[in-house]
Amino acid sequence: MSAALKDATAIVGIGQTPFAKNLVESERALACRAIIAALDDAGIAPAEVDGFASYTMEETDEVEVAKSIGAGDVTFFSKVGYGGGGSCATVAHLAAAVATGQATVGVAWRSRKRGSGKRPWTNTAVQLPTPGQWTRPFGLLRPADEIGMLARRYMHEFGATRDHLFNVALACRNRANQNPAAMMYERPLTREMYMTSRWISEPLCLFDNCLETDGALACVVVSAERARDCRRKPVYVHSAAQGLPAQHHGMVNYWNDDPLTGPSWATARHLWKNSDLTPEDVDVAQIYDAFTPLIPLSLEGYGFCGRGEGAAFTEGGALEIGGRLPINTGGGGLSEAYVHGFNLINEGVKQLRGDSTAQVPDAATCLVTAGEGVPTSALLLRS
């Protein structure tokens, strides 16, 4: 598999809409705008699109998108589950499809009006029987509560503190302050603001939680051969992986031997195995940040440090530009936009093209991850 997929495909176009609360247009219209922008960026006509991939939570389906943008005959379409865990897998599925000849021009996208729509956890009518029966009656209602439970245990076991979580929030906010498209562009964050903000689910405060955003993003995947003829510099999919570890339970992963060793570990093993690179070779990372504790957990899972060392890794400006591993250089889900992690994919492409608003000098390799804490996925991109 590795020989077939490694560097066989490239992302050649990216597109996005504005990020805001209460955008006027529908999710369907936003999806089409992001996709058409991505195709225009690539210099590929919509009629050439024959592959699609998105999330199971995406509410605009391929039929609507394909007929709106004027796609041709579509021969591959795929939806990936588990919310933000599916972000990188959308590109991975397209890469596999293109590499095996199931499609020639693939589009991945996510469009969501989370900034003006309902919060999913408020829906009591579609309460899933499993595992909701074991958690929701006790008031463990929201993803923030479920991850807060793991965060408290992580802090207890490894001596992590709120200052470590603040380091994550601050790095993302600092990058957003450089990115005019970010929702938090003009909103600096201070340690005092962080430490005195309201709790959402103690030990997690307001700034440990991602934004609520309306917006859409898309990218275009073609073969490496085709990529050479596109308008923009290709960004190669060097390695891609999904991960559903043994005895994993989703976000309420309390029921196995080691709940703090999440899906990123299994995903990382597969990702590195099929790669020529190691964590030391990664110039910049876009790490899924629905909640700040996902960063130390992911740093450990993807091998940037040992187990229990993820919090300490954040010290001394390690996550800032010029630090050991600059992360989420567009601002991430915490400070640019929360669109189920798709903005992290596009930011990885911008870094490797050399045109990020917070450019890491000479960045040639970028790790992009999907949501830790649920069945997840990751990409290693290279220029």
Binding site: G132, M149, Y254
Partner: protein, 164 residues
């Protein structure tokens, strides 16, 4: 093997599975139904493989170790330790927001530390979700089970400090 309850477990078909106050009732699936039926009788039981004996939670159709579909429900002592906890603050569903900040805890059972149950630490079985002083919550604190009837025929395990 422990006989399964003869009385069929209560299943909630309604889309609004809440108490009169709006708290969410457990919506059992086929695998989980015996847990709730035993809870209604005041017993804390966990599914175990009838072939190899390994406990598993949440309940599921077959044993991940030996693939047997035969299971039994083993009674637990009801003693455990707090593994972690959170204090949810609004925005929450209205019935929970009224009691916020309250605690939600994960308890690891002394009989089987890998079996962990989400619950609430309360001062007595029927006390409010915010009845325990937050400063009393501590990872490792000993707790014991108590049973609270949320609604007619629906009982959930809750937890009391061993040393209140």
């Amino acid at each position: 093997m422990t006989a399964l309850p003869t009385e069929p477990a209560r299943t909630v078909e309604s889309a609004t599975a809440t108490t009169g106050d709006g708290l969410l009732l457990p919506v059992p699936d086929d695998d989980g139904a015996p847990f709730w039926e035993y809870a209604r009788r005041g017993e804390l039981r966990v599914q175990a493989c009838a072939a190899c004996g390994v406990l598993r939670f949440p309940p599921r159709p077959c044993c991940p170790h030996c693939q047997s579909f035969d299971s039994e429900w083993r009674r637990m002592s009801g003693r455990g330790r707090i593994w972690s906890y959170v204090f949810p603050h609004p925005p929450l569903l209205p019935a929970y927001a009224e009691q916020a900040p309250y605690n939600a805890i994960v308890v690891e059972l002394l009989d089987a530390p890998r079996i962990r149950l989400v619950g609430n630490l309360v001062t007595s079985a029927d006390a409010p979700l915010d009845s325990v002083d937050p400063s009393r919550l501590r990872i490792g604190a000993g707790v014991k089970v108590a049973f609270h009837a949320m609604a007619d025929g629906v009982t959930v395990p809750r937890w009391l400090l061993e040393r209140p």
